[in-house]
């Protein structure tokens, strides 16, 4: 008998929601968690991380979930503030880079051959130098600090998304309904607003969400090296680079929890991005 050939597939029915609905739910929950981190981080005031010389170098406990540092600052509060800062910097970086990708991707697809060649050369240019080295160079040029790191992040994350957008726009432009609109005498602007942008929105959204984790990781890496955010900011990169001095004294919690939380934030963004892709991209409809 071959009735039993594919029993495995039926297991999915154990859950009342199908896989796609589950993905939607987890995405929403993840987004709420992220929003929570940002809001809590913004609400925490400086007092929470004030120097407290009585409570120095404490290992994690119920009073101080992530322990305290050599100045007696609560590591949990510092971590949450750092994450909030990471998300903010990531947001600025990703929005900026997505905008560049959108403009250059559209330009490459619509403004003729020369523009296309030029932009593809520009993309190659950015991909020729190791990403981290480019970031170091830009941060160095701008003298480090918030401005340097943000501009560096904005300027270096767009190439791959620009390629996606270029390909997408080219495909839409050659589609039949756009050709018909053209023959009906619709203007370029009308076609861009009514046909191209609506199709592009999901791609941009997915590209943006998947860019976010990269931006956050690069920010913290450059800050960790010492060329990013200033040491006065409660950034994760700063926390981890400071912790290096105290690791040999056995204060592992200074590095462990902040890094773990950064990982979780990055992964949450990545998960939302991937889920969005699965839900919005029809070519993956059976995954």
């Amino acid at each position: 008998m071959i009735q039993n050939l594919h029993v495995r597939k039926k297991e999915e029915n154990r859950f009342s929601l199908n896989r796609r609905q589950r993905k939607l739910v987890t995405s929403i929950v993840a987004a709420i968690v992220l929003l929570g981190v940002v809001v809590v981080g913004a609400l925490l005031d400086e007092e929470r991380i004030a120097t407290n010389l009585i409570a120095r170098n404490l290992a994690p406990s119920f009073d101080h979930l992530f322990g305290t540092d050599w100045l007696g600052r609560d590591m949990f509060a510092r971590t949450i503030m750092g994450l909030s800062l990471s998300v903010k910097v990531g947001l600025i970086g990703a929005i900026g880079s997505t905008s560049i990708a959108l403009i250059l991707g559209m330009a490459a697809a619509t403004m003729g051959r020369v523009a296309d060649r030029l932009i593809s050369w520009l993309i190659d240019l950015f991909l020729s130098v190791p990403h981290l080295v480019t970031l170091i160079l830009i941060a160095f040029t701008l003298g480090g600090g918030f401005k340097g790191i943000v501009i560096g992040l904005v300027l270096t994350h767009w190439p791959s998304l620009a390629r996606v957008i270029r390909a997408e726009v080219m495909q839409i432009r050659s589609a039949e309904y756009v050709q018909i609109s053209k023959q009906l005498g619709k203007s370029k602007g009308w076609i861009a607003v009514h046909h191209i942008l609506p199709h592009l929105t999901p791609q941009i959204l997915i590209g943006f969400m998947l860019m976010f984790p990269h931006v956050i990781l690069h920010e913290s890496a450059v800050t960790f090296i010492g060329l990013g955010l200033s040491p006065h900011e409660p950034a994760i990169g700063i926390i981890l680079s400071e912790s290096m001095k105290y690791l040999s004294a056995g204060m592992w919690w200074l590095a462990f929890y902040p890094g773990l939380c950064l990982l979780m934030i990055v992964q949450t963004f990545d998960r939302i991005g991937e889920n969005l892709r699965l839900l919005l991209d029809p070519s993956k409809s059976n995954d």
């Binding site: 008998m1 071959i2 009735q3 050939l5 594919h6 495995r8 597939k9 199908n18 796609r20 609905q21 939607l24 409809s285 059976n286």
Partner: protein, 307 residues
Amino acid sequence: MPILEVENLSISFNQYTAGLKRKNIQVISSLHVTLEAGEILAVVGASGSGKSLLAHAILGILPDNALVSGTIKYNGELLTPSTQASLRGKEIALIPQSTNYLDPLMRVGNQVRTSVQTGDATLAQRAVFKRLHLQQTVEKMYPFQLSGGMARRALLSTAIVSDAKVIIADEPTPGLDPVVMKEALNNFREFADNGCAVMLITHDIESALMIADKIAVFYAGTTVELAPVEDFTGNGEALRHPYSKALWRALPQNDFTPIPGSQPHPSDLPTGCLFAPRCTMATSACSEEQPDMRNIRNGMVRCMHAT
């Protein structure tokens, strides 16, 4: 006793449609086919009607999201996934339809040799190439270097060297020039005359009529008629199902009258007889229940009005 018997075979797929909904698409429903040793059975139906899946179901190589029900018997024995696995390539061989079925990075000769079950693989491969008029240089080529005719013969040679008892050929004729096609069809006749059973899955009814012994007419995922090839004659009076008759009359050398309407999509099948919406003989009873396959005049038919 028939060497291969397919009874009540149904295949469906689970697919996500728009947004969050999931749908079950029935591609093949209650299909019956029997195959005798020494004969050629042609399964004839329009393109895109899921005929290839019948071959894949017999071999047990359907994709994971396929749901299968029904029975398949080989030499009177029920097939299970494990017996299917042990029969594939040894007792039952598939001749696929295009070069895409050859590994793009493997030399053609080597691919044919992997099908050899006993004896010296290289010798067997060279003998078959010679028999099929393929030059010896072909064995060193990669699939993308083959012409259409060479690719067909290479695919055919994989079946020949395997010494299988049952050969299932999936659309073996399209794109071939008449000479090569005749040769390919003669090869199948040779198989059958040597005691093999051949199942020819095709949309090309003319070439099927040239060499087949029996014709199974396939419509919307099921067989509507099983008839000896002699019945395809005259005005089609000897045929049993209205669809077979219409198909026969649609041929250029006959009336050349096309059948109005189009085959229903697997996700949108009618409740009763699948052909009812396009049938001139249809009555209200036809759209109530799908008729069973029944024996009439040395053949089988799925129509309550057939005589």
